[in-house]
Amino acid sequence: MLQGMFQEGQMIKITNLEKFYRTEEVETIALNKLSMEVGTGEFVAIMGPSGCGKSTLLNILGMLDDPDDGSYVFNDIEVAHFNERKRADLRKHNIGFVFQSFNLIDELTVFENVELPLIYTGVPAAERVKRVEEVLDKMQIMHRRNHYPQQLSGGQQQRVAIARAVVNKPKLILADEPTGNLDSTNGNDVMELLTDLNEQGTTIIMVTHSEHDARYSHRIIRLLDGQAVVENIMV
C-alpha cells in the first residue's frame, strides 16, 4: 500500500482495482489489483512505459470509466459502482481535466470555453463572467478572451485548458501529459502554473513521460503491467 505524505486528509483511496480490456480473442489486464492513496493537497506524478495502465488509472480516477473490480473511495464516498449520471454529477463539481491535446472546442471562443463548466454546473450568468475573467487574468490570457482556439499558440491553448479545468474550483486536477505537445519554455510555464495551483490547495495527479516534469511533484508512482512497482518521494 502506497501512502501519501500529506495526511491532513485522504482524498482518494483505491483498493485492489482491476480493469480488463477484452476483444474477441484476447483479454488484456490494464490494472491488476492496484491499490494506492492520495492525500488532500498532494501533487502526484504517475509514470511508466506505454501500456502500463497510466491512462486507464487516470480515467478511473476521473470517473470517466468504471473499474471491473475493487474499490475506489473519493472523499469518503465509494464510487466504483456509480452509474454514469452519478459519476458525471460528482465529477463536474470536484474534478478538472487537462489533456495533452488541450481538447478545446473549436467553435467556442477562449471565454466561452472557460465558461462552459460553469454553465453545466448552473452558475448564474453574472457570476460566470466574474469567475471566468478572474481565472483568465490569473492565467494571463485575458487579452485573448475573444479569440478562437485555432488563433492561439500551443502554450496559450494549454493555459486556456487549465483555466477551464480550474474555473469551477475543483478539489482535484487530473493532468494527462499536460506538456506533451509543448516546447520546453511553454512546458515549464504550464508546470509552474500547476505548482501554483497545488500550493493554493488543489490536489493534482499528473500522468507524464517526462522525468523533468515529474520533479515538480511530491511523489512519483511508477506503474508496470497494471501494478505500482516503485514510489519515489521527492524532497
Binding site: N59, G62, L64, D65, E84, R85, A88, D89, R91, K92, H93, F97, F99, N103, L104, I105, D106, E107, L108, E112, L116, P117, I119, Y120, T121, R164, N168
Partner: protein, 796 residues
C-alpha cells in the same frame, strides 16, 4: 443555457456551409411542398364546415338495383322532403333545391343571364349558415315569387347591396320580390348559387321524377340511421308505383362528407375526391421525410467530426440530457431557418400551384396568427423529429472513446444510414415510375381510336326552341360554305359524360320481355353517323326517304348485340317504351354500328340505342365537321348563320376532341402534381447523396492520396467513392418496382380502357434514378480523385 446552445448551433451552421446549405435547401423544399399540399388538403377538408349545424345536416341520396340495371342518384324528387318530415319526428327541417331556376334576371333596364339561381324552400336558411345583410331569414322565401340575392348579384343589378331589398326583379319575365341579400357563399361549399328563389306555392311533382336535391336538418346526428333503416318501408309506401320493385336504399349523406366522398350521378357541383387528398397528403409527407432523412444522415455521418467536442463536453460536466438538448437546438434552428425559406418559396410557388389545383389559396389561408403559430409548431416538431436520432446517437458515445476519436462509424449506424438512403430512393423511383405510367395512360386515352373521327368536329347547342324546328334550313345554309364538310344532329353533345340512359325492354330473342334493360340512348338524325365517320357493322343508317324510320326504327351498337347474344340483330323488334295511352311502343332494328365511345375512356362502351328525334325539341345539338384551313373564318361563318335563326343567344362552340380531353382533367392534374413532386423528391434525395459523398470524400482524403501515390486511376477512385451509393440505388429500384406496379395498377383501374404496365418502365425509372444519382455522386468523386495527393497527404 439555451443561448449557449443556439450560439453553438449557429456557429456550426456557419462553419460547415456546404452541409448547412444542403440541409436548409432540402428541408425548405420539403417544407414548402408539404405546406402547399397541407393548404390544399385543409381547404378540401374545410368544405361546408362553416355551417354551424353542419353535423346535423344530411343530403338524401337514392340507390336502386334490379335485374338489368341500377342507379346511384344525388337527386330525389319533390315529395321526398315533405314526406320525410311528416314520417320522421327526427327531421327538424328540410329544404329542397332545384338547380334549374336560372335564366334572365332583370331590374329596370339592367338584364343579366344568370344560371346560378336555385328554387328552394325557406327552410334552407335554418339549415345552412348564410349571413343576411338585409331581410329576415325566418320569412325570406316563405312566399312564392320571392328571391334572395347574393351580394355580388345585388351589386350587379342595383349598383350596391343596400338598395336591393324590397325591390322587384323579373326572372324569365316573372316578377320576384327581393326579400333578402346575403353575403356571397364561401368558396368551400359543395354547391354555389347567385340567388335563391321560392318554389311556386304548393309545389310538388311525381315521386319518380328525380331532379331535386333534398337536405335535412335532423334533431340529432345519429338519427340518420333510423331513416336509412326505413328505406324499404319508404320505397313500398311511396315509390313502388313509379319505380317498380327493386332493391332500394335511401342514403343520408353527412353534409361535410359530400364534397370529398360523394360521387353519385347528378351531383349538384364538382366534388373533390378523398383519394386525391390521401394520395397528395402521402406524397407531401414522403417528400418532407426525404428531406428529414437528409438531415439525419448527414448529422450522423458527420458524427466523427463532432466526437471530440462531445467527449470534451462530457468530461467538463455535460449530462447526456444537456448534450441531447444541444443537438435538438441545432436541428430546430435548422428547421426554423428552412421553414422561413420555405415561406418565401411558398409565396413564389402559390400562383402556379393555384393554377394547377384550381384553387385560390393564399399563404395565410387560415389567418395570420394561426399560420405563424402553425409554422412555429411545425418547424419545432420537424426539428425535434429530425434531431431525435442524431441526438440519441451522438450523445450516447462513451466519453473516453469519443475524446480519443475511437468511436468510428459503427456498423449498425452505417446500416441504418444505408436503409434511409434506400428508402429515399424507393420513394423517388416509385414517383418516377408513377409519373411515366400516368403520362403513358394519358397519351393513350388522347390518341385511342374512339370508333369515330373526333378531329375537326365541333358541336354547339341550339338554345332557341323555334330554331330547333328549322334544322333543315340551318344545315343547308351551313353547307353552302365549302369549309363545312358535313352537319349532323343529336340530342346530346358527346364527350361530356352526361348522356342519359333509358329503359328498354330487350329480350334475348328480340321478343317483348317484361324485364327492362338500361341502355344509353342517343337521339340522332341521318347525318350524324356520316358526320362523325362512325362505321356501320350491319344493316343501314337512318334514311329520310324511309318514312317509317322516324318512329319505327332504331340502330343499336355492337356491345348491345353482344350482350343480348343476338346472332343477327337487324330486323329484330324491341319494346322501347309506353306511350301516353299506355300502349307498348315497339321498334325494329335496322342497323348495327361498330362501337364508338360517347363517354371518356374511364367508362366502358355501354349498350346503346340510337333513335331518330320524335319531336323537333330533341334536335338541339349540331355536329359540324369542318375543313382544316382557316378555322376562325369558318367559325365566324357558323356564328353568322346561327345568328339568323336565334337572335337572342350567342353560339358556344365545343370541339369534340376537347370535350373528351376535359374528362381527363383530374387525371392530368394528378399527373402534373405527381410530376412536380417527383422532380422535388429527386432534387432533395440527390442533395442528400451529394452531402454524403462530399463527406465520404473528406473522410477518405488520405486514403485517396495513398491510393493515387500507389498508382490508382481517377476512374478507379470515382468507382471507389460511388460504388456503395450506387448499390443502394439499385436495391431501391428492385424494391420500388413492385410497389410502383401495385400503386399504378390501382390508379389505372379508374379507366375502362387502359395500358398494360410495361416492365421497362421500372427499368427506365431505376436507370434514371441511378443515372441522376451517379452524376450527383461523380461531381464530388471526381473532385476528390483529381486532387493532388501530395497536398492531401501533407495536410494529415
Amino acid at each position: 443555457m439555451l443561448k449557449n446552445y443556439i450560439k453553438i448551433a449557429w456557429r456550426n451552421l456557419i462553419k460547415h456551409k456546404v452541409f448547412s446549405i444542403i440541409n436548409v435547401s432540402g428541408l425548405a423544399i420539403g417544407v414548402a411542398a408539404f405546406w402547399l399540399i397541407s393548404l390544399y388538403v385543409a381547404d378540401e377538408w374545410s368544405y361546408d364546415r362553416y355551417n354551424i349545424k353542419a353535423d346535423r345536416v344530411f343530403r338524401v341520396a337514392q340507390h336502386g338495383e334490379w335485374n338489368g340495371g341500377k342507379f346511384n342518384l344525388a337527386v330525389t324528387s319533390a315529395p321526398f322532403g315533405p314526406a320525410l318530415k311528416k314520417d320522421y319526428p327526427e327531421v327538424e327541417e328540410f329544404a329542397r333545391i332545384d338547380a334549374e331556376g336560372g335564366g334572365k334576371i332583370a331590374y329596370n333596364d339592367k338584364q343579366i343571364n344568370e344560371g346560378g339561381i336555385f328554387f328552394t324552400d325557406n327552410g334552407i336558411f335554418n339549415i345552412f349558415s348564410y349571413h343576411f345583410l338585409s331581410g329576415d331569414p325566418v320569412l325570406a322565401l316563405s312566399k312564392p315569387q320571392t328571391v334572395v340575392l347574393t351580394k355580388t348579384l345585388a351589386v350587379k343589378l342595383f349598383g350596391d347591396a343596400e338598395s336591393a331589398i324590397n325591390k322587384t326583379v323579373t326572372i324569365n319575365e316573372q316578377p320576384n320580390a327581393v326579400t333578402g341579400v346575403i353575403d356571397d357563399m364561401p368558396a368551400n361549399s359543395h354547391f354555389m348559387f347567385a340567388a335563391l328563389r321560392s318554389f311556386p306555392s304548393g309545389y310538388t311533382d311525381r315521386w319518380g321524377n328525380s331532379g331535386i336535391y333534398t337536405y335535412l336538418l335532423l334533431k340529432d346526428h345519429n338519427d340518420f340511421k333510423k331513416i336509412e333503416a326505413g328505406s324499404a318501408v319508404f320505397h313500398k309506401k311511396y315509390l313502388t308505383g313509379d319505380l317498380g320493385p327493386m332493391k332500394y336504399r335511401l342514403e343520408l349523406q353527412p353534409l361535410t362528407d359530400i364534397h370529398l366522398k360523394s360521387n353519385l350521378d347528378y351531383e349538384i357541383g364538382n366534388n373533390g375526391n378523398i383519394t386525391y387528398v390521401y394520395v397528395f397528403g402521402i406524397v407531401a409527407l414522403l417528400t418532407l421525410l426525404i428531406a428529414v432523412i437528409n438531415y439525419v444522415n448527414l448529422a450522423t455521418a458527420r458524427s466523427s467530426v463532432r466526437m471530440k467536442e462531445i467527449g470534451v463536453r462530457k468530461v467538463i460536466g455535460s449530462s447526456k440530457k444537456q448534450l441531447m438538448l444541444m443537438f435538438f437546438a441545432e436541428s430546430v434552428l435548422l428547421t426554423v431557418i428552412a421553414t422561413a425559406v420555405a415561406g418565401v418559396l411558398i409565396q413564389f410557388a402559390l400562383p402556379y400551384f393555384n393554377q394547377l389545383s384550381g384553387k385560390t389559396l393564399i399563404l395565410t389561408q387560415f389567418g395570420l396568427t394561426p399560420t405563424v403559430i402553425a409554422f412555429a409548431l411545425f418547424s419545432l416538431v420537424t426539428g425535434l423529429l429530425s434531431g431525435v436520432y442524431p441526438a440519441l446517437f451522438l450523445s450516447g458515445f462513451r466519453t473516453i472513446s469519443a475524446i480519443k476519436g475511437r468511436v468510428g462509424n459503427q456498423s449498425s449506424t452505417i446500416i441504418f444510414r444505408k436503409s434511409l438512403v434506400v428508402f429515399q430512393f424507393i420513394v423517388t423511383i416509385v414517383m418516377i415510375a408513377g409519373s411515366c405510367i400516368i403520362y403513358q395512360q394519358l397519351s393513350f386515352v388522347m390518341s385511342k381510336d374512339l370508333g369515330f373521327n373526333k378531329a375537326q368536329v365541333l358541336t354547339f347547342h341550339i338554345h332557341d326552341k323555334s330554331a330547333r324546328t328549322k334544322i333543315a334550313a340551318i344545315k343547308t345554309q351551313l353547307l353552302q360554305n365549302s369549309a363545312v364538310e358535313s352537319v349532323g344532329v343529336a340530342g346530346n353533345p358527346i364527350g361530356n359524360n352526361n348522356i342519359g340512359g333509358g329503359d328498354f325492354n330487350l329480350g334475348p330473342d328480340g321478343k317483348i320481355n317484361p324485364e327492362s334493360k338500361i341502355v344509353e340512348n342517343l337521339v340522332i338524325d341521318e347525318d350524324f353517323i356520316p358526320t362523325l365517320q362512325i362505321k356501320m357493322a350491319k344493316g343501314r343508317n337512318f334514311s329520310p326517304s324511309m318514312v317509317t324510320d322516324q318512329k319505327e326504327s332504331i340502330i343499336v351498337n355492337q356491345t348491345l348485340v353482344n350482350e343480348m347474344g343476338w346472332k343477327d340483330a337487324v330486323g329484330k323488334s324491341v319494346r322501347t317504351g309506353v306511350d301516353d295511352k299506355g300502349n307498348v311502343i315497339s321498334q325494329t332494328i335496322i342497323g348495327v354500328v361498330k362501337d364508338f365511345n360517347t363517354y371518356s375512356l374511364q367508362h366502358r362502351v355501354a349498350p346503346m340505342v340510337l333513335q331518330m328525334p320524335a319531336v323537333a325539341n330533341d334536335e338541339d345539338n349540331l355536329y359540324v365537321r369542318i375543313g382544316k384551313s382557316n378555322i376562325p373564318a369558318t367559325l365566324s361563318y357558323i356564328s353568322k348563320i346561327y345568328g339568323r335563326f336565334d337572335i337572342e343567344n350567342k353560339v358556344e362552340f365545343h370541339f369534340l376532341d376537347q370535350n373528351f380531353a376535359k374528362q381527363y382533367q383530374s387525371e392530368q392534374k394528378q399527373g402534373s402534381i405527381l410530376f412536380i413532386f417527383t422532380i422535388l423528391a429527386i432534387c432533395i434525395a440527390c442533395l442528400g447523396l451529394f452531402g454524403l459523398v462530399t463527406f465520404t470524400a473528406e473522410q477518405r482524403v488520405k486514403e485517396i492520396g495513398i491510393r493515387k501515390v500507389l498508382g490508382a486511376s481517377v476512374t478507379s477512385i470515382v468507382g471507389l467513392l460511388s460504388k456503395d451509393l450506387m448499390k443502394l440505388v439499385l436495391v431501391a429500384t428492385i424494391i420500388a418496382s413492385p410497389l410502383a406496379w401495385y400503386a399504378m395498377s390501382k390508379w389505372l383501374q379508374n379507366f375502362a380502357y387502359r395500358i398494360d404496365i410495361q416492365w421497362w418502365v421500372f427499368t427506365i425509372a431505376g436507370a434514371g434514378a441511378i443515372a441522376i444519382a451517379f452524376v450527383t455522386v461523380s461531381v464530388q468523386s471526381i473532385k476528390a480523385a483529381t486532387a493532388n495527393p501530395a497536398k492531401s497527404l501533407k495536410s494529415e
